[in-house]
Symmetry: C2
């Protein structure tokens, strides 16, 4: 299992948390959003999920990975 | 048709807009959220919807009507 923490812009409320964590779950990763620090910690299996797919999943929800 | 504009705290993003406008639609009112001014303009029929029900619909979504 790999863990990475991404800085993400535009996350403002619990709806944002749900949409990002839900999108990560859909691709098989486990995300945890911290609204205070604008960061998303993601646990994922590098053999199944790529970092590129993680960034895309977040950006498809309308947020920018810095 | 009656129109009222309410000041609402906590609305931060498009998800918030959708949840508030959706909740107002469900009770038969038409709401339009302005995130910049923290205001919600609501068109409603006083014979069918009360102002109290409008405030409740917004507060049930987790926002405070000032």
């Amino acid at each position: 299992m790999t863990n990475i923490t991404l800085e993400v812009e535009g996350m403002s409320c619990q709806h944002c948390v749900n949409s990002i964590e839900g999108a990560l779950k859909e691709i098989g990763a486990a995300g945890k959003v911290d609204l205070n620090s604008n960061r998303v910690a993601v646990d994922y299996d590098e053999n199944r999920v790529t970092l590129e797919a993680i960034k895309e999943a977040i950006e498809e929800q309308g947020y920018e990975v810095v």
